[in-house]
């Protein structure tokens, strides 16, 4: 049975990729991912904004109150290094490349045009096999048009494409007026793959303290529906690799991702909740399922249930919406039973 797949030109032994998470913060975590069976992993995201913030924050606290009072001209010893820049991240890439054999996909979230290209280059130089641009942007300015936002995405991808030669994936959110068109434009701008979708931070309100509070919920399988839907639509229409990154928890989720047309299924919540050991379990279940249903390879099933290949393409379209509400139509393979 052949469970191999390709993603961003990388040959992967199976379709499970560990997506950006705290697990990849340490070399030990990365090692565990490889040992656990992940075919590749996306490192945690390097946030340019965070680097700037940390640098300024450090400077502020080292400077605050200094040279003001004769007895205490400073309040902290000066250290040799503070690792405020991307060095720690780059070092981890280097070490990961020395330590594990699975591909290392670096992840970058920039804020400035210079930052995107600079850090991308540094990641390539550090040895990353591929780069995922995590374009996490919430346009809150009412004067900013959709077209402007879309152009910004395209510009970022184009600029980074010009500055690095390693494969490039773009992780986007689902909130575009025309997701398919956006996918096409990103592909044309140089993206080798699309990662669907970013889950945007949605804060909660604390009614006791009357404060906005951060709230990070792990995903559920249900949430895979949205990326699954879009992968199924995009498969075969745009020449990019596709990855599903939200709500992948079970072997069934992975199989659905493949059949919809994804090259890989990315997992985080499941690994955080139940451990890296889940990858092996899921792989075994995939193989058992493929065996039972007589699939010989992942390639065989890939895209088999994309919009292009299903009997009723309209099932993926809005026209079908009312119908869906009225009758939960059972599908022949049981694939869409959540």
């Amino acid at each position: 049975m052949d469970t191999t797949t390709t993603y961003l030109g990388l040959n992967l032994k199976n379709p499970i990729v560990a997506s950006a998470s705290p697990i990849s913060h340490t070399l030990d975590g990365i090692r565990r991912l490889e040992d656990g069976g992940a075919a590749a992993f996306v490192m945690y995201s390097l946030f340019e904004e965070q680097i700037i913030h940390e640098s300024r924050q450090l400077d502020h606290y080292l400077t605050y109150g200094t040279d003001s009072f004769a007895e205490a001209l400073s309040y902290f010893p000066e250290m040799e290094t503070y690792n405020t820049g991307p060095e720690e991240y780059l070092e981890l890439i280097r070490k990961a490349k020395e330590t594990v054999e699975i591909p290392v996909i670096a992840s970058l979230n920039g804020v400035s045009s210079g930052g995107w290209t600079r850090y991308a280059r540094l990641m390539q130089e550090a040895g990353a096999d591929a780069l995922e641009l995590n374009i996490y942007y919430i346009p809150t300015d009412p004067h900013l048009t959709g077209a402007q936002v879309e152009q910004m995405y395209v510009d970022v991808v184009r600029e980074v494409r010009h500055s690095v030669s390693i494969p490039l994936a773009v992780k986007i959110g689902p909130y575009f007026s025309s997701t398919a068109n956006m996918a096409l434009r990103l592909s044309e701008a140089g993206a080798d793959g699309l990662v669907l979708f970013n889950r945007f931070y949605q804060p909660d309100l604390d009614l006791e303290m009357l404060e906005v509070v951060p709230s990070l919920q792990l995903s559920t399988s249900y949430e895979m529906r949205l990326p699954l839907h879009w992968v199924a639509i995009l498969y075969g229409r745009i020449s990019v690799d596709l990855a599903i990154t939200t709500g992948v928890h079970t072997h069934m989720d992975v199989l659905k991702a493949m059949m919809a047309g994804a090259n890989v299924a990315m997992m985080t919540s499941e690994l955080l909740q139940n451990g890296v050991v889940r990858i092996r379990e899921i792989l075994a279940e995939i193989e058992a399922w493929m065996d039972e249903y007589e699939y010989v390879s992942v390639a065989q099933m890939r895209g088999s249930m994309s919009q292009r290949n299903v009997a009723e393409p309209a099932a993926f379209e809005r026209a079908n919406y009312m119908k869906t509400l009225h009758s939960f139509r059972s599908d022949p393979t049981g694939m869409f039973r959540g």
Partner: protein, 1179 residues
């Protein structure tokens, strides 16, 4: 050999050699020597090696006494060992110094000589500390400059190894220790060439070793002690020769020649001045100038003061000398003369009294008092008078004993090719750091020599700094402030007219002003007196809106780079383009390690600065339009002397205050901080009565007591200034009254702690609270009016059965008797002092350990301790750092003893004062404010009854009557005192059973000296002296005290539970025995957002790091468990607390692996501590 040339200060220069030539270094912080220890610790943490290829072992001790003891031990065990100290610290080393010298042990102690506290503490420089050790048997070598501090550190080290006599290497505190100057750095080869390895070997051979056992440090009897003491004479006799030998060797190695006594001046001089320390540099410069003018004068620089080589001294003088004037930088009251003078007199008298020239002596420069060429000239001129003054002073105006010499302040000797600049700035605006940077650029990047010296006021918030820079083609010796500047920069517009900023400017000087007004508008916004100065001195006047530029790139109030760029653009020392490049290089060097973002931010303002620098067209005459002159803040109705002194100091004219205006014993009135009205806040809180719930939290946490509350009759507000706010009071006990919450906008520091703790939010707009920050300037005039009106409203009566002052809501109505201190904005200590003063201030005696609280509490010009309407308030004193618990207990002993006598006399005079009054006085219940008030009334009646009595018992009782009213003794200090240097005394006081209250303001570092680790520092925190993160856990002082069983102990954190804090204070004071309150005090040295200090306290408690508890022995008497755990089990992992603070976070950034390991241990500490406390609570 080419040696590098750098700009540095004497502390670093001396520490560098000490580090390279020693193996064990014991350190303890004390100003101004702390940086030497900090350097040693930082170098050891970075793995820097000494001459022998090992990293010296640097150990912080609990006191200077401890450091000296540790060094003594280390020397006895054979290691090359050293320490650094000053002032009281050196005094604590004296017993060991006698021993070390008595045992002929080679070592060097490096000291930045500092004033020993007498009528007042002073952190500044003179020789009173060095002179206090001159009979210990140590050789004493004085450096006069930064270069010499490095050179003599090595010469002393080489000489002590050769001679076996220990050396004190001294240089002047601040003037030399903190002066930045260009020096040539000694290489390791230089050091190797001087250090005699055979002598090192011999030192080791003398060490104690079980392989060749001996005993040393025996006890001796009258039979042999004396003779044994005389055995050392040959060693001392050999020292001068050996030192000169080392100096000669040093000269051969480096080209810099020194002698035991260096003579400068005319070979045929008739008048010679003799002195030591930095004053020699000024005298050197002056004498050379006078010789050039044809005067026959000279100078003897005393290098080796002990052993004093009379012959070498006399030989140094030209034979033509007819008059010698000896200057001492110390005062020895009652002596026949100060020490150096006496040595000089002895030298002459032992030669041939017939040939002795006229010898005069005088004191100069105490506590870093300026010593200028004008004074040197006055001193030399005195020798020409027929009836000169002897035992004179110079540099002050002594209108009491008339000791002072007159001098011409306009006399100067500086050559025109030396550029001289003065910069007036705020601590927070980065002026000093910019200037330190500029010196490095000029001194290290050009052929110029450069010098910088920095003066600070004594405030920790809104502090004023004055930077004095010189540069020129020759080494700069001028060890005095720039008083003839050709460049003056004022970095704060508000300083113009308030301080004498243009006084140092010479004719034609450049004047750069950071101004919100452009070149067209600035003129009419200057006071007329300033306009006149600019015109009169023909100044070239430039303005720049530095704050505008800084704000545009997110640099906040840091205008250092902007002003530095302007300085270089105007001074022309380096071509403009090149200067810009060098500034940028220096930005990279300074900020590079902190990240690219900060570098870029600073780069951005360099270019903008040049575009925004404008010359102002100065009119020929002052205009009709000008800003009003700045008025004195000191009210007219205070005593003339107090007004004169305090006003003078506030206006930066303290040097002009004559002797007669000062108190003879260091006693000052309280309540003076209210005079200053510093207006330092950019923003102040504004009260919204409609949202306020009147909880009082803001008033309690305000570090500067600028938010006050009152509840008053509505009728009293009828004449309130327009806009005065009030709300219906929410007190059941006080119906139909108005609640007023007033902010003193002129005293506020703008810390916003009040806004952060305010729990009341607008229901329709949760971003708006009952307090919100707003720009201060538009509110200033109205705010001042409102504050005056508010102060005149009646205070809440402290003695009322209607209100119980044990809740926060009610405590806010009590008047704080601690206000407007110079503490940091957002200080975590002062709210506790404010609370204590509200509750007990009217009957409190305070013993204050040296540290932050003694500085913001007692540093001139003003004090925050104040009085209530009846004239009662805390009486305060600071003894020392190490003895505060004992000092406070002494106060209690005195009170107890006097009360005992008073009670006996009341009984004795029962018939005269009436039995009823006598009984009432003797049986008074003073456990409540009402009881105290009743007793005060009885004491008043007692005094009235005895008034006019002439008999001894009655007069005695009158003098003691006030002790019949219960007093509250508070012993206050920081963790450096309580955990470290004062712990022995604190422990003894706790064990004594006496009724004192010890309040530990626990910031977990030595905050006042810049954040050195104490035994209170948390595991994993980075602090000075713990640059690699503190490896061991915090000492549990509270639990140690609990073991006594009869000590009231509370651990509090106001930000976590203000209610528990108030309870603890009330219970501690009520407990008739020793009480210890350990109060979490967030601090600037934690690297936190000071606005959120109270929240940090909460995080500390929620994480279990700082459990709240009270141990009340009184409960045990009732059969209850005396231990009450007041906080809940930890709800946060420790990391969620500590990594919100830079002190912990910076270890994570610099050494993540160590940080992780220490975090795990620290988390385990928390869990273990919690388990123990739970057990105590369950018992």
């Amino acid at each position: 050999m080419k040696r590098s040339q750098i700009c540095t200060d004497a502390n670093e220069a001396a520490a560098y050699v000490a580090y390279k030539t020693n193996e064990v270094i014991a350190i303890y912080p004390i100003t101004p020597s702390s940086p030497m220890g900090e350097w040693a610790d930082a170098w050891a943490t970075a793995g820097e090696k000494n001459l022998w290829g090992t990293v010296p072992l640097v150990q912080e001790m609990q006191s200077e006494g401890g450091a000296a003891g540790a060094i003594h031990g280390s020397l006895q065990a054979g290691a090359l060992s050293t320490t650094f100290t000053a002032s009281q610290g050196l005094l604590l080393m004296i017993p060991n110094m006698f021993k070390i010298a008595g045992e002929l042990t080679s070592t060097v102690f490096h000291i930045s000589a500092r004033t020993v506290a007498t009528h007042a503490l002073s952190i500044f420089g003179d020789h009173s500390d060095a002179m206090a050790i001159r009979m210990t048997g140590w050789a004493m070598l004085f450096s006069n400059s930064v270069q010499e501090a490095m050179d003599f550190a090595l010469i002393a080290q080489a000489a002590t190894l050769k001679s076996r006599v220990p050396f004190l290497h001294a240089f002047d505190g601040f003037r030399t220790s903190h002066e930045v100057n260009k020096i040539e750095v000694l290489t390791e080869d230089d050091m190797r060439a001087l250090i005699d390895e055979d002598a090192v070997w011999a030192h080791r051979l003398r060490a104690l070793s079980p392989d060749r056992p001996v005993i040393r440090g025996t006890a001796q009897n009258p039979d042999v002690f004396f003779q044994a003491r005389e055995t050392i004479n040959p060693f001392y006799a050999a020292v001068p020769g050996m030192v000169q030998g080392v100096m000669d060797q040093f000269a051969a190695q480096t080209g810099r020649a020194y002698h035991l006594f260096d003579y400068v001046g005319a070979p045929d001089a008739e008048r010679v001045v003799v002195l030591m320390g930095s004053g020699c540099e000024t005298a050197d410069e002056t004498v050379n100038y006078l010789v050039e003018k044809g005067e026959r004068v000279g100078l003897v620089k005393v290098r080796l003061y002990r052993p004093f080589d009379c012959a070498a001294f006399l030989k140094a003088l030209p034979p033509t000398v007819r008059g010698v004037v000896v200057l001492d930088r110390t005062k020895e009251p009652g002596a026949a003369g100060e020490p150096l003078y006496q040595d000089v007199v002895t030298a002459f008298s032992e030669r041939d009294p017939q040939t002795t020239p006229r010898i005069l002596t005088g004191r100069y420069g105490l506590s870093s008092k300026e010593f200028t060429p004008a004074m040197v000239k006055a001193v030399l001129d005195e020798l020409t008078k027929e009836t000169p003054k002897n035992h004179f002073t110079v540099g002050i105006h002594d209108d009491v004993s008339h000791t002072s010499l007159d001098y011409d302040p306009s006399f100067g000797v500086e050559p025109p090719d030396v550029a001289r600049a003065v910069f007036w700035g705020l601590g927070s605006d980065g002026t000093v750091s910019a200037n330190k940077n500029s010196i490095k650029i000029i001194g290290e990047e050009t052929d110029n020599f450069a010098q910088g010296y920095f003066v600070y006021d004594s405030k920790k918030s809104g502090s004023l700094t004055v930077s004095h820079l010189r540069y020129g083609p020759r080494p700069i010796k001028s060890a005095y402030l720039v008083n003839q500047a050709n460049f003056v920069a004022v970095h704060q517009f508000g300083f113009v007219g308030r301080y004498p900023v243009l006084e140092p400017a010479i004719e034609g000087a450049t004047f750069l002003l950071n101004s919100p007004y452009g070149p067209e508008e600035v003129w009419e916004n200057l006071p007329r007196s300033v306009q006149e100065q600019i015109i009169g001195k023909k100044l070239r006047f430039y303005v720049i809106d530095a704050y505008g530029i800084a704000k545009s790139v997110g640099l906040g109030v840091r205008i250092n780079t902007i002003m530095q760029t302007c300085f270089f653009a105007l001074n022309g020392v380096i071509p403009r383009e090149e200067a810009i490049e060098k500034i940028k290089d220096s930005i990279k060097k300074t900020y590079g390690r902190r990240g690219e973002a900060v570098v870029q931010q600073n780069f951005a303002v360099v270019d903008k600065a040049l575009e925004s620098l404008h010359e102002v067209k100065v009119p020929a005459e002052p205009g009709d339009r000008c800003a009003p002159e700045v008025k004195s803040p000191v009210p007219a109705d205070v005593t003339e002397a107090a007004k004169y002194v305090i006003e003078g100091i506030i206006a930066w004219r303290g040097d002009e205050v004559p002797v007669s205006a000062l108190p003879v014993d260091g006693t000052f009135p309280t309540g003076t901080a209210a005079w200053e009205k510093r207006n330092i806040a950019q923003e102040v809180p504004v009260w919204e009565p409609d949202i306020c719930i009147q909880c009082g939290k803001c008033s309690l946490v305000c570090p500067h007591a600028v938010i006050r509350a009152k509840v008053v009759e509505p009728a009293l507000l009828e004449n309130a200034p327009e806009g005065f706010k009030s709300a219906s009071a929410k007190w059941r006990e006080l119906p139909d009254q108005r609640y007023v919450l007033q902010v003193s906008v002129e005293d506020c520091t703008g810390c916003a702690v009040c806004v952060e703790v305010c729990p009341a939010k607008d229901k329709s707009n949760v971003g708006r609270k009952a307090l919100n920050m707003a720009q201060q300037l538009p509110l200033r005039a109205q705010g001042a009016k409102e504050w005056d009106f508010f102060l005149n409203l009646p205070d809440a009566p402290k003695t009322t059965e209607r209100i119980n002052y044990n809740t926060i809501k009610n405590v806010q109505l009590l008047i704080p008797l601690f206000e407007f201190s110079g503490a940091c904005a957002g200080c975590g200590e002062t709210p506790y002092l404010g609370l204590m003063s509200r509750l007990f201030g009217d009957r409190a005696l305070i013993a204050n350990a040296t540290g932050c609280s003694s500085i913001y509490g007692g540093n001139l010009p003003t004090t925050p301790w104040t009085k209530n309407r009846e004239g009662r308030g805390p009486a305060w004193s600071n003894s020392l750092f190490e003895d505060n618990a004992e000092f406070g207990m002494g106060m209690r002993l005195a009170l107890t003893q006097q009360e005992t006598t008073a009670r006996r006399l009341v009984d004795l005079l029962r018939d005269r004062i009436g039995a009823e009054l006598a009984d009432a006085l003797l049986s008074a219940d003073m456990s409540s404010p009402e009881g105290i008030a009743a007793q005060r009334a009885r004491v008043a009646r007692l005094k009235a009854a005895l008034q006019g009595s002439e008999d001894t018992p009655a007069k005695l009782l009158l003098s003691l009557a006030d002790t019949l009213v219960r007093k509250s003794v508070w012993i206050v200090g920081g963790d450096g005192w309580a955990y470290d240097i004062g712990y022995g005394g604190l422990d003894h006081v706790l064990a004594s059973g006496h009724n004192v209250n010890l309040l530990v303001l626990d910031t977990e570092v030595y905050s006042n000296t810049g954040g050195q680790a104490s035994k209170s520092t948390g595991r994993g925190a980075v602090a000075k002296f713990a640059a690699g993160g503190k490896p061991r856990p915090k000492k549990d002082l509270g639990r140690m005290a609990i073991t006594y069983g009869n000590v009231y102990v509370a651990q509090v954190a106001m930000g976590a539970s203000d209610t528990q804090t108030v309870r603890a204070f009330v219970e501690a004071e009520a407990y008739d025995g020793p009480s210890l309150i350990i109060a979490y005090s967030h601090c600037i040295a934690h690297g936190i957002d000071m606005r959120r200090g109270m929240n940090q306290q909460k995080l500390a408690v929620d994480s279990g790091y700082w459990p709240l508890y009270r141990y009340n022995p009184a409960l045990a008497a009732e059969g209850k468990n005396p231990f009450q755990l007041d906080s809940k089990p930890p709800t946060l992992p420790l990391k969620d607390y500590i990594y919100t603070e830079n002190r912990y976070r910076m270890l994570m950034q610099s050494d993540p692996r160590a940080a992780q390991a220490l975090l795990e241990l620290a988390q385990a500490d928390v869990e273990e501590k919690w388990r123990i406390y739970q057990q105590l609570a369950a018992a």
